[in-house]
Amino acid sequence: MKALQIAVKDTLTRFRDWKALAGMFAAPLIISAMIGLAFGDLGGDETPIENIPVVLVNLDAGELGQAYEDVLTSPDLADLIALETMQDPQAAKARIEAGELRAVIVIPAGFSETVIPDSQGNSGQANVELYTDPTAEISPVIVRSIVERITAAINSTLLAGQVAGQQAAGYAPLLGPAMGQLGAAIGAELQSGNLNLQESLLDLEVVSTGETGESFDPFAFFIPGMAVFFLMFSMFEGSRSILQEERHWTLQRLMSTPTPTWEIILGKMGGTFLTGLLQFTILMLSSTYLFGVSWGTSILGLAILVVLTVFAASGLGAMLTAFSRNENQAGVVGSAVSLVFGALGGSFFPTDGLTGIINIASKLTVNRWAMDGFLALTVNRGGLADIQTSILVLAVIGSVTFVLATLAFQKRFVK
């Protein structure tokens, strides 16, 4: 009960601090608004993206070039991109400069022959070239994303060397019929080469690129991104308040009252958690009102995700503070971690394209799991089932960091 009193006191104190309020609310909303302006309509309605003018220059005579062409001309993408085919790359690029096109995709001659392993298992490297309109903001990103996903699917298939025709055919509803045929072709090719076949690396999420008729709402990405980013800042700042209380002797005075130390620590961490919860909730409500952001259709999923995101962020903040030498160090570490986590974790840009160690590092951040969850709800209109991994990971991060922080604070303050 006293822990709750401490938590409420901390929250009240935090909400009376104008500088803190600016960091918690004004900054994320203003930055999101600026980004939203840069992306176009701020009227609140989603900005429709359709019929992006794109030219495919397919100089490859093999299956892979045909696969790119088939996917790009598939009915799934018909509304999203308006594809033309040309044979002259220079002429196509000239049309970008003329403002007629947003992107040109060039499949070089001999692409399939170079990339697909021969009977000895040897293969080469070739690049798909993508030229985009530098004056456009969103459409090049979308086209690049589509091309990257087709390329990634092919790469995965080639590297794993395992997709049999039947398996690939099984993915057809997700990948689209063109990719299904591609899988069958590659599977047959590889099997004839007596390669050691392993499991498929095809990423089924890739298929979602093929969904069309979607409209792009920049706020649906940037508002959660900024909200999580600034949440991390305020959670680190909030956690630091326990060291400020030690400096001002209010912590010692608390410990001179008949209140158990663990309850004081719980109250302090609870105050940070409560502040974060209010911060995120207010940001969600204000973004809905100001920018018309839709936070999805799963109220339960959203509530659980918000609670666990704040839980993980405040737990991490408490842990870093508990292990910091002093208040200043906690401040520096907190700011640095917030920035790095924001950059790696997808608060500023999508993490879909991350690979290798960067992708692993990204998955070590609270932001990444929170953003995966929020985007599943806001952009993909998913439900509770789609954010299970996110909420599980966030719950684990929060639990572990809270326990470690409590133990460290207990050791630090009981002298």
Binding site: K2, Q5, K9, L12, T13, R16, D17, H248, W249, T250, Q252, R253, L254, M255, S256, T257, P258, T259, K415
Partner: protein, 315 residues
Amino acid sequence: MSNPILQAQNLHKRYEKVHAVQGISFDIQQGEIFSLLGPNGAGKTTTISMLSCLLSATEGDAVIDGHSVGTQADAVKRVIGVVPQEIALYPDLTARENLMFWGKMYSLSGAHLKQRVAETLEIAGLSDRANEKVETYSGGMKRRINIAVGLLHEPKVLFMDEPTVGIDPQSRRRILDTVLELNQRGLTVLYTTHYMEEAAELSRRIGIVDHGKLIALGTQDELTKLVGERDTVRIGISSVNDTDALLAALTKLSGVDHAALEEDELVLQATNANAHLSQIIGAIGAAGGQVKSIKVAEPNLEAVFLHLTGRALRD
């Protein structure tokens, strides 16, 4: 003198490189104001921190109202009030909000809490400004709310650690009057200070602390008898060529027992000082010094400290 509410027994606090408190023992009688007098860094705050259960004693124990500080901290915390040297308040909250919060930490609630908040605001003389944020208060007002927090749960013993540091004389006077008034109502007070006048005014019994040790303990009369009939002479000087030679010359004078230099002031202890002033001034002149001021004080606590340590209390 047979009803001690607090008994500190051989308290020690050792840190890695510092032995901050070295075997301090004393009793405080119920209804008494007991002062611990000593310079900064003497170990007063460490002692109070151990008695408040904020620090565990490396050795020794204390019993407060029948409860061991070492093993019954929760019971001890219910009978003590703590007024730290720092202003341990939340500046963003009003005085009333601060008191309400701290009252809840002492398990007060409901109408009783509101009543105690009103009463302590009255004691602090800040009822009319109770709804203003503490950050808008003067230093003296903050000190008074700092004391009020320690009184909320009607403790049996109040620990006050240097409660007048850094405030104006008027606020200081008010705080001293408050302490006396609370004591008249029956509150036992442990008061630490480095101001000799405060200890002398508030307490009948005083413990003098230096370098973590209790170097003297007794009533004011008992303590001043330690220095006999010696007066303390403070002489403001300038232009002395060789201070060591001057101090040596002064201690050789008849009736002068101690001589020390504090910045530009000589501090001497002398029997019947007025009779020896001409000799003292002559010695200063011989050393090339000029006398700027002279003050002679009869035996007091400062003289006791000087007598016991060879240093002035303000060092």
